[in-house]
Each structure stands twice: as structure tokens, then as C-alpha cells.
Symmetry: C2
Subunit: 347 residues, 2 copies
DNA sequence: CTGTTAGCGCTTTCAA
DNA sequence: TTGAAAGCGCTAACAG
């Protein structure tokens, strides 16, 4: 760029390249040193009013934006939290992260978010790149991680929050609920309703499968009746809910009983299909969903579902971290936020 | 922390504090210098096979994870892209970002994502904090930004991509579609269908309002009939779709004609409400949505909607950036990806 | 209240 | 193929 001179110049750094205004430039303009600018920004009370004013003027004039990279390197606090979720288009995770982000942002943190797509290998790789950003904490979805991932996490020395599932022995902090319990509760709910037949429709989510397995096992134990299961490897969609119900009816002769779906979206589709085929909901076929999504109570018939407080997960996770950053002496470990069956009309 | 000695020690940095393994430590272990480790990582071909092997062993043994912060500061390339969307729980933005992230991740970039909640002031603040991370590029939703935001963006000197809307004079790169055109196209579609009455239901989104305004204006121009408008300040939900339709019927005596909704979710709710009240869809009331979301074709009746290819926005944005990073001589500027009316049964 | 001095852990020349 | 040296822009003691 700047000349092709062969003369071994004193290696003057190519500062020119407008890589942004520096504190030093601001300081020069305000007639103070660089450190004073730093102070003015981090703790204005440590700088005289007059100096502060000049610095602020200089900042405004230059459009200075502090370099957080340099700050993080120097202070070894990045004010960055990284988060991994299976999917950002799944409202369940998106809502949780939203609540988490809002709380953390208020405290001055930013969130670096990545999708892992339910793949442990991908999660491991992503954890490594995330840790390379030296976040002040990391949030993971789920409690199952590869051994190598656990090693890196532990070695990083930062707080690790596992959400959306529950274990008594988390890596560090765990905020979630027991998926298996939801399946059991749904089975009991079905039996209490008087159902003598049951089926399930599930999407490709490890936790969804655990809920389903618990439902089936418990229902069979209580009634002696086996449960027909329809599983999809992909994410939940209305179309798959319809297809699942169609298979249940066509292939399994399921025309009466309750269907436990791994998400409200699937339940919605199942209801649409059954209704279209002339079955009464819940008269002939009852449907129970999972998630209590926005629409669950507003479709016809309103969907009976298992509700978990998504926002609460995010908020609680953020609060636990914030408390930790403040050096709380009583660190949170495992918090079970539970769930609740919302009885509406579909079951 | 380390003792209360008054003796002015040689200020030995508190290195101890396990802030992670450094390249220097790895190098020491492998019997080479720190730079060699750096090279081994960035371009293995520049290091002898034997050295490479020893370095890799040391890395494995120590669990070394490179410090991207230090790397970014030194190279002034952060391999970080920053993105701002109005809402991450809105599938429209989530799907776009997902496609964008995937592409960028494959190229070694990570995405720092924030929500702005449709608020320009919040956007401006967020842009500032994002720029402080010295991203290699920034992606914004929409084309309207505060003057101060524009200034910061320009001053940053990095590529700026504006998506999801279209202008011929973008800050830098723009990838989107003309919202106004969608409204017009919908109005024409209605008139061609023979509708002589129309209404709208919109959520709190500036672009949704522009689509609606274009629809109403055009419909009125073509038919001479005013359009009843129901506006919500909040996000689209099935419940609001129902409420909107209820108001249209109860307050505006709207019992026949077409309803242009700012999203498929609203359309879905509107259809549910009208159906429940005994109106035939599309016989009595026709409904047209926006977005062609996953469920649009699978509910009853399937929703006629305006489709925009969400994934394409993300992919195209990523490709444009990647090309730019490679120093393309023909920079993309404004790309109009258009839209399409998907005719199903609701209209 | 303000400035000086050392780094933070890398990448980038330049030299060997 | 390897190493030495010089920063990147900021924060953290420490000294006035």
C-alpha cells in the first residue's frame, strides 16, 4: 500500500488504515493522556468536571467507539457471554435466549449465540471456538456433552450454565426441569382421564424422546396397554403433526384414545388432521402438546399442554450468573423450575 | 489479593490465575518458540513435520484453546460478524439469521446477535456496542437508521449489509425486497379476485405498516372503497389475529371481502375466528397472509400468502460479504430478491 | 485528579 | 524453517 520502497524502514506500523479512533487520539484532542480517557469512560467520577467535558467533546467530535477487544485483552474480562442452543428457529430456545439476553444486556453483557443442531460433535467444535473468544461465562442447552467438551469447559475456569434439562450433578450451574417427569405426569393425566389407549408423535429432539419414552413406559405400566409411537428425525412442524396423526389412524388403526405430542406444533397438526377426518377432539381422540406456545390456547379446540416457563429459564440463568460475577458465596447449583399441565379442551 | 506487603514489588503480573494456556506455554512444552506455535496453527505447511507433531502433542496435552481476543487485537481481524434483528423469536428473522450464520460459520466467522425490538434508539445503542467488538462486518435489519448510527457505521470502515428491505441507495450492501410492492400486489390480487371490500390486520412492525398502507391505498384507488384497518402495536400472535377479525366483524360490520394480514400468524388467527363465527373461508371472508411460514400450507384452509425466501436473504447476504472479504472488484450494492404470491385456499 | 509504566497473548515484519 | 522484536489499544497498579 504505502510505497514499495526497498529501504528497510523503521517498520512504521500502517497505523493510517483508519482502524478506528483510539483513546490516545481522543486524549490528544482533549489535552490529556490516554489513561485519563479510559478513566473518564469507566468511572467519570474519577475525572474532574472540566476534563470530562473536554473528553466528551473530543469523543463526540471524533466518533470514537472504544475497542472492546483491547479492553478485554487487558482486563481479561470480555463482557461477553456465549450461548449454544440446538436451534434458534425453535421458539422454545429463542424465547429462553431472549429473556437471558435481555437480562444480561442490562448488566452490560453481550451474547454470542450459535446453533448446534442437536449434534454433540458440532457442539464440541462450537464450544471450542466459543471459548476462544474468552467469554466471561458460557450457557449450554442440555446436560449431555462430550468428554472433551467437559474437559474444555472445566479448563476454561469460567461459569458454565446448563439449561433446559436437569441433573443433580451439573458441570457448574444447572437450571431446568426433569423431562422424564413430564412424560410420567402426562401418562397419569391420561389415565385419570380414563384413556385406555395412547399414542405418541415426536420430533427429532433427544429430550423429546426422553419425554415420550417416559410417557409410554408409564402409561403401559398403569394400563397394561402398549403405546403406538410415531417418530420423526426432523424438527416439529404442523405438516409432521398431520402426517403423524394420519399414520396413527391409517397404519395403527388408532381411532380412539390420547396422543402425546412432543410439541404444540405437532399437536396442532395432529388436531387438524383428526378433525378433517371427522374425529371429534377430544371426544374420539384427545391430544396433549408440549410447550404452551403462544398459539396453544387460541386455536380450536385450545390445546391441553405441558407448560414450562421459558422466560423463567433465561431470567434465572442470567440472575445466577450475575450473582456469581458479584462473587456470591452461595453459588447456585441445580435449580429445578418444574412444569405444569395446562388443561384446555383438546384433552 | 496477593499479600498486603507494602514493599513495592516488581509488580509481577498475577499470571497464575489460570487464564488459560498460552501459545508460549505450548511452545515451551514442544521446545519451540511461541511464534512457531502460531504458525503451526495458522499455516501448518510453514512448519516442519516433526515440529508440527510436537506442537500438536503439546496442544492436546494442555488443552490449549487459542485466545481469539489477542489474535484479533494483533491482526485487526476479528472473524466476528455482528447482526441486529428486531426480534429473534420472530421466525422470519430467525430463519434469515440461521441461513446467514450457517454460511458464515463455514467460512470461519462467528455471529454476535442482538435484538433491537423495532426501536431506533435501541438500535443506535446496540450498533455502538457491536462496533466496539470490532467486527469484520455488520448486518442490519431494515434501511432506516438514525443519523448518528449511519455516522458510526460509515466511520467503522467495515462492510455493512442491510437486509429485509430495499433501497437503491444503501449504506453499503442491501439485500431485500420492496415492501410497498407486496402491498400493491396484494391489492391487485384482491381486485382480480373480484373483492369489493377489504380490511387489514397488522402487527407492530414498521415494515408491516408500510405494506398495509400500500395495500389500502392501492385497493382504494382501484375500487374507490376505503379499507378498514386494525393495527396492533405488539407482535403478531394468533390471539391478535382472532381479536382483529372479531373487531372487524363487530365494530366495522365487515362480513364479506378480503383481509390482508401482516403475517401468517395473524391470518391464521383471523381464519380461526371467522370460521368459529360461522363465516365461510374464502366464501364469505377471504384472508391473505404474509411470510409463507411453515404452517401456512398445512392448516385448514391452507393460507394464501406472500412468500419471501428467508433463507435466500441470509445466504445472499453471507455470499456478498464473503465476496467482499475476498476483495471482489465488483461489489454488490442493492439486490432485490423479490417476493411471490402463493395462492392456496384462503383467498 | 492525572500521568507513567507494564503488560494482556497474539500476529507481523525482518533477519537468520 | 525458525526466532526476535515490535506492536495491536486498552486496563491495572503505582507514583505523584
Amino acid at each position: 500500500m504505502d510505497g514499495g520502497d526497498t529501504k528497510p524502514t523503521k517498520r512504521k506500523p500502517a497505523r493510517s488504515a483508519s482502524r478506528g479512533v483510539t483513546m490516545e487520539a481522543v486524549g490528544r484532542m482533549a489535552g490529556v493522556s490516554q489513561v485519563t480517557v479510559s478513566r473518564a469512560l469507566s468511572d467519570p467520577s474519577k475525572v474532574s468536571a472540566a476534563t470530562l467535558r473536554k473528553i466528551n467533546e473530543a469523543i463526540a467530535a471524533t466518533g470514537f467507539v472504544p475497542n472492546a477487544i483491547a479492553g478485554a485483552l487487558a482486563s481479561s474480562r470480555s463482557k461477553l457471554i456465549t450461548a449454544l442452543v440446538p436451534s434458534i428457529t425453535n421458539i422454545v430456545y429463542a424465547a429462553m435466549i431472549r429473556a437471558f439476553s435481555q437480562r444480561m444486556r442490562e448488566a452490560g453483557y453481550q451474547i454470542l449465540l450459535s446453533e448446534t443442531g442437536f449434534d454433540p460433535a458440532e457442539e464440541e467444535r462450537t464450544i471450542a471456538t466459543h471459548l476462544s473468544r474468552r467469554p466471561d461465562a458460557i450457557l449450554l442447552t442440555g446436560i449431555h456433552h462430550s468428554p472433551q467438551a467437559r474437559r474444555m469447559l472445566l479448563a476454561s475456569g469460567i461459569p458454565v450454565v446448563e439449561v433446559w434439562d436437569f441433573t443433580d450433578s451439573p458441570i457448574d450451574i444447572c437450571i431446568g426441569f426433569r423431562h422424564v417427569e413430564t412424560g410420567r405426569a402426562a401418562a397419569e393425566f391420561a389415565v385419570e382421564r380414563g384413556d385406555t389407549a395412547a399414542a405418541t408423535i415426536s420430533a427429532g429432539d433427544e429430550r423429546a424422546r426422553r419425554r415420550k419414552a417416559a410417557f409410554s413406559e408409564h402409561f403401559t405400566r398403569l394400563t397394561g396397554t402398549p403405546v403406538a409411537e410415531i417418530d420423526f428425525d426432523e424438527m416439529a412442524t404442523v405438516a409432521r403433526g398431520r402426517k403423524g396423526m394420519a399414520r396413527l389412524i391409517d397404519d395403527h388403526g388408532f381411532t380412539s384414545g390420547i396422543v402425546f405430542c412432543s410439541s404444540d406444533v405437532l399437536a396442532h397438526g395432529a388436531i387438524i388432521e383428526a378433525t378433517k377426518r371427522g374425529f371429534a377432539i377430544p371426544g374420539d381422540i384427545a391430544v396433549i402438546g408440549f410447550g404452551d406456545q403462544e398459539f396453544a390456547g387460541d386455536v380450536e379446540p385450545p390445546i391441553t399442554t405441558i407448560k414450562v416457563d421459558l422466560e423463567a429459564f433465561g431470567r434465572t440463568a442470567a440472575d445466577a450468573l450475575l450473582r456469581r460475577f458479584e462473587g456470591s458465596s452461595t453459588p447456585d447449583t441445580a435449580i429445578d423450575l418444574g412444569f405444569e399441565i395446562i388443561r384446555r379442551q383438546s384433552a
